[in-house]
Symmetry: C2
Subunit: 330 residues, 2 copies
DNA sequence: TTGTAGGCGTTATCAA
DNA sequence: TTGATAACGCCTACAA
């Protein structure tokens, strides 16, 4: 491999000069700098990351820890984190929490041992992130005190409910999957908050990880719309509705969260509340970057608004006429 | 940070002795070795990856290149590659091909620059992987000459068709999404091969990336079963069938590929042909490991059998009685 | 069995 | 403007 030293030898100059010419730091005459750069290009010189890391104490690598890499959100997040990291000159090393708190601690440990400069972590449900030697950007939910940046799940919940109320829905079922998830809690809470504020005529909340909620009972209770805490649960409900011959969105509107890839392939396609993942990735990286470069001001924890994607699983309620949203505020 | 040097100083021994004691290579008296290890533990010593990489020329890091990190297969592959890599002491750096050949070359380049020891790559559809300085494990399809290890997509295709023939189906629609994909080509070809061999009474192949195939026309043509090249397409068809009130699996059986996460949440749940991802990851890593450790024999390219997962979207054809599979071989 | 010393490729300090 | 030199932390002949 060609090194700074071999270039120095080839050109009969010192390594320091080569280093300066290539990095543009020290003063080197334009003419010599040009010759050095040219030669470096010719021999295909690339600095050794190991040597640089050893000298500078920085690896230029960030870690990404996910609760479970088969988490459906992982691909999009990985995609955006990688892009954001790359544009700042960082590489991304992945690690899997293996779905438990111990695994999460181990994953962080492994990354730190590998010399990452910082870590982006999506913590496992219901865990507190353990402190480390390197800066940590936590992507979770506003209600997690350790949170660095996240989607505004609560606002997302309001958005989902609000959008359905705008269409005229008044009786809701709010369906979550796992009550230990702060993310899902916030989403359901946001929806409930919107209903309370705008005078929905009552709603039920149910948490169910296995079976789908009893749709027929819900319909009998006058429910015309369901807000689910994730697209996967929405999928379950949509399928259930179709086998029960409940028309969607005619008889029942359903909305999910996360904008998982299958949503647009469903028939009816799934309306959903999508996290602004590029923005989240951007902020997580800005945060780490600020901490790593010793910036005077570190970005404070922040939440990123979610985005409504209306597709075909939501529509006007059949039973009653569309009411003017303005009038319906009790 | 504690280093080999600081430990040597603390204990009044030489750095070489510490290094030997910790690595167990050179001869060090048991007693001294014990003291050194104990002290190392106490001060929380961990070797510097940068220094070790600089000295040994190996980073202990592998790259993982995907055509697009939002590819639905990515999570499971990343999960298993990371696990397999970790158990061999490697970390995994991700890179995104940004969905084109140029991006793919750039991704490889970036990883090599970062000093990875080897790369696992899932090539972009229809591209040939460019040669590099580091060993490359290619995960694609047997029909790609550069392939290192892959699922046996062709056998998977036979499996899908065979399983449906066992149930008594005879007329098939084989539906693919992208004919440029070697993977999908192999799957469809495998299914066709099985039908030809076992005397299906004819089948149509269609390639469609946007609209779903015309189900009514297919049914009119006597089709009772559809083999799709991916679960996403199967999902589209299932949804389509439900809106057209075509009973699945009563009137029509549908099977997909890849065992994507949503499949089990559908109603009816989706039968699928699943790649044995843990085994594929294992072999990809064995291959790289062999090449990196200069092993005498490098594992030859190999294909890993796919696994049938029968759920509820496949069943006996309605029209005709179940025929004995043995008798049905023409 | 233990210690000395050199070097991996960079960066940075200080002289020239 | 340029060069000599010393680290960074580790490994490994080779010498004691």
């Amino acid at each position: 491999m060609s090194s700074i030293k071999s270039i120095a030898r080839d050109l009969g100059v010192s390594t320091a000069t080569v280093s300066n010419a290539l990095s543009g730091k020290g003063r080197v005459s334009d003419e010599l700098a040009r010759r050095i750069r040219e030669h470096a290009g010719k021999v295909g010189y690339h600095p050794s990351p190991a040597a640089r890391a050893l000298k500078t104490g920085r690896s230029g690598i960030l870690g990404l820890v996910m609760p479970n890499l088969t988490n459906p959100l992982f691909p999009r997040l990985a995609h955006n984190i990688e892009a954001a990291a790359d544009s700042r000159g960082f590489g991304v090393l992945i690690a899997d929490s293996r779905s438990d708190a111990a695994g999460q601690a181990a994953a962080i440990e492994r990354l730190v041992r590998r010399g990452v400069d910082g870590i982006v972590i999506v913590p496992h449900r219901g865990t507190r992130v353990t402190e480390t030697d390197v800066p940590l950007a936590v992507i979770n939910a506003a209600s997690d005190p350790a949170n660095t940046v996240s989607a505004d799940h609560r606002q997302g919940g309001r958005l989902a409910a609000g959008l359905l109320m705008d269409m005229g829905h008044r009786r809701f079922l709010l369906a979550g999957e796992d009550p230990r998830s702060e993310v899902q809690q916030d989403r359901i809470a946001g929806a409930a908050e919107c209903l309370a504020r705008r005078g929905g005529t009552g709603h039920r909340v149910c948490w169910t990880s296995e079976a789908a909620p009893d749709l027929l009972a819900a319909l009998a209770g006058g429910v015309t719309a369901i807000v689910t805490s994730t697209d996967l649960l929405a999928l379950k409900l949509l399928s259930e509705a179709q086998t029960l011959d409940i028309a969607v969105p005619g008889r029942l509107s359903v909305i999910g969260f996360d904008n998982l890839p299958f949503g647009e392939h469903l028939r009816p396609s799934l309306s959903t509340i999508a996290p602004d993942v590029p923005e989240i990735a951007h902020r997580a990286l800005s945060y780490l970057d600020a901490r790593l470069s010793g910036a005077a001001e570190i970005p404070p924890p922040s939440v990123v608004p979610m985005i409504a994607i209306q597709r075909d699983s939501t529509g006007l309620p059949q039973e009653r006429p569309v009411t003017d949203p303005a009038r319906s505020v009790s």
